[in-house]
Amino acid sequence: MFGILAAATLLGATLTVGYGLRTGFARAATRADLPDVVARFDDRSRADVDRRVRALPGVQSRAYRFEVTGTRLGAAGGRTRDGAIEVVEGGRRGYAVITGRDVRGSAPEVVVERGLASAWHLHVGDRLFVGRIGDLRVAGIAVEPDNVAYPLATAAHVYLARSFLDETFGRDRTPRANVALVWLRDGASTATFLQQARATGYGLTGLRFLTRDGIGVQLDDAAGIVVALLGAVSLVGLLAAAVLLAAGAQADVQRRMESIGIQRAIGLPAAAVAGGWALAGLAVALPAGTAGIAIGAGLAYGPSEGLLSALNELAPGRALLGPLAVGLAGLGALVAGCTGWPAWRAARRPPVALLRGAELTGTRRVRRTGVPPGPLSLGVRLALTRRLRALTTVAVLAVTGSVLILMLALGSLLAQLRDDPGTVGKHYDLIINLPADQAAAVARVPGVLAAAPRYAVEAVDSFSLGEPLRVIAYPGDHARFEEAALTAGRRVRRDGEAEVGQGLADALGLNVGGTLAIALPNGRETRSRVVGIVRALDHDGRVVYVRAAPLLRADPDLASSVAVVLERGADVGAVRAAIEARTGATAKSPAAASSRDRRFLGTLSALVRVVAGIIAIVCLYALVQALGILAREQRATISVLRATGAGPATVGRVLAGAALAVALPAVAGALALETAVLGPAVTRLAAGYAELSLAPGAGQSLLLVAGFVALALAASAWVAATTARESIVSGLRSQ
């Protein structure tokens, strides 16, 4: 019962997360009526754009927006300078209003994206300050799945009606647009459309296309890692359940061999005997499975919804009931098969053999060791009597344990990414808002190893002005202060060279040897040759590391801060106090991930924790089930022990020996499997963000050993308590 409950819990959680992620984009795209193609370009007369779009093949309908980025937004819950106003007109929208209603008429109201509403705790009816316009009433909350949600995405999107702006600022005689939404007719080719659109896009600058299929593939790639991982975990859980259910059923069949023989002797067909066992299994499986799947779904739904929300997707809601029902049916079939199969095998034997209580499977006798057995070693001997089952249990626990330690490693990695600046290549210990010429004074503070001016400026790519990037510059070698992992090329050695984050390199198609032209906020441009590509988590990897001199030549007024590396063993608090006393400025410790990344990492951590917890339950289940089977098979032995004076604690020690006999080899197997197979595989899958190892550390290995020992002891205490309630006399009679 408990085993089925645990396996069903795992299944319920996996289906909830897996189905949600696998179908989240399609669900959100359908509900939002996401266009097949989104074209972005520099501001242009809407009539001119429409004339070009109308001429393209396969267009079913179209809509235009005017997008204003870099707008200030503010509310009680937060503020940002990265607001994106989407001015919408009549026609199809491309977003789904999930709460409240859409903007309409010339009312002073706004629809906000769900990520913004969630981050700032905005509700329908609240007021939102929109730069240059003022306070607007929030009319609705919307989801537009063409990008991840704020704050995971840099820009926070709000939607305003053009009619409201016309009413407020006067009607624009030649309305302009910079976004075109295009829905294609059924069967029309997106590729053909794009080919034609590029050809007729002559004169439109900054033209970029985003397709519905492309977004889906990108999101599926990211979700695929989580889905594959959960699928593997679920498979392991179900495998464990199947093996142990089959073993348990086999032990039951062995005990009741005589009654099966009698059933066969009076003429009951073998299929009827097996069917009876299968039905009995189902009678237990259905309530336990239903409860387990409900618990698993309930546990995972919250974190899964958070993840979907961060990806700008919609939770499945009632649509999840279908897959859960299929899961329950599958579980029922598995249990029926596992309980019916041993009975089928037994019932096909001659009745006379069954009446003599023939062994369903052979047991191997363990030869004496010469060491007088105590309770623990007796337990080991009993566990090893059925070697195949012991090996199967070890294998199940090893695989489950390896996934568990992978989850621990992933959790640790996520925590590092969130909290440890060193993980993302930040070696400096303090950062102070000070002019560059104060760096030398800071360097003289006791405990400071090195101090240097650090320039960080938000800029855009000169060739593709819509691509924001962050330029980070130091006067000399930046690697001493910040060192994102290098994946191609080399470090910056001189002026005019740049290391480019993977995110920016992907967005701009940059390679080592290419040229990066950066448009600074003052309008000046600086060009650098790309000498290296780095993995950087910060700013979605849209960062550039350069030497400070060329940047300062382009903008001498750049604001700086001072980055400080402390001597080994220096007291951060004392040094900070000394710096603040000397300079009067506040020194801060660097953050690993930005606040928007922290939320996403927090959601992932929660998900990993839920999965790890469920896996621990599976391990406990596997051990309890294995011990339960052992206790049933060795019922007479345990009764003899009790008859000769062994108390519940001694019986517990015997069972603990049996549990440890499979748990300890399983730990070794789990560590080996994680180190050799799972860790490297998942590291390769997740290598896009950071170059970090998922190999288990000493602490995690010790935690796994301690965890398995604790689980083994808990399982043996549980089974011992159950055994102690049984009658010694009936145990003796069972032999």
């Binding site: 001997r381 003899v640 008859a643 004076g645 108390g647 001694t650 006399v729």
Partner: protein
Amino acid sequence: MIEVSGLVKTHGEGSTALRVLDGVELEVNAGEIVAVEGRSGSGKSTLLHLIGALDRADAGSIRLAGEHVDGRRERELSSLRRRLVGFVFQFFHLVSELSGEENVLLAARLPGAAPGAQQRARHLLAALELDGAEARLPHELSGGEQQRIAIARALVNDPPVVLADEPTGNLDPVSARIVLGMLRQIADEGRAVVIVTHEPEAMAAADRVLRLTDGRLR
């Protein structure tokens, strides 16, 4: 050594309830062998299980070597069985994964085993003439050898009370005579021995024979 008074035990509930023991009175002294006989299902084994603290009585009292058995918790009963009672079963009940010697030593290594139990175990194995049998697994031993191993296991903690449930029921006449001789020797060493049996030879070996009829000993 064994004092049983007003012992009552009922199996089942409601309309299927069967009172198998209905006020049993029994006293067995040190050095005495008492055989209990009766028809199948008369409650002989139940009486033995109650005396040996393997089961709980509905009413009545039991005292072993001056200690009350009734009304105790399971942990206390385990200790009592370990210190005061040695069991010999009809089907031997040896642990099939352990050799003969290990079966005897297992009882000696239980937490709370009597001091010197391990030495006594080795001495018993030698005294019971189990040469070669101690190294073999139970399924490789004859019935007589298995029962002698079981007797050694019962004596390893030097209990004052030995309870034997059909000790010769599965043995050939020669092995049965050896086992009965051993039980006599055990009693002569100052222990109280109760045998539940159908066998005339076993009854002949006893100092007293009691018949269990209608839930009472006569």
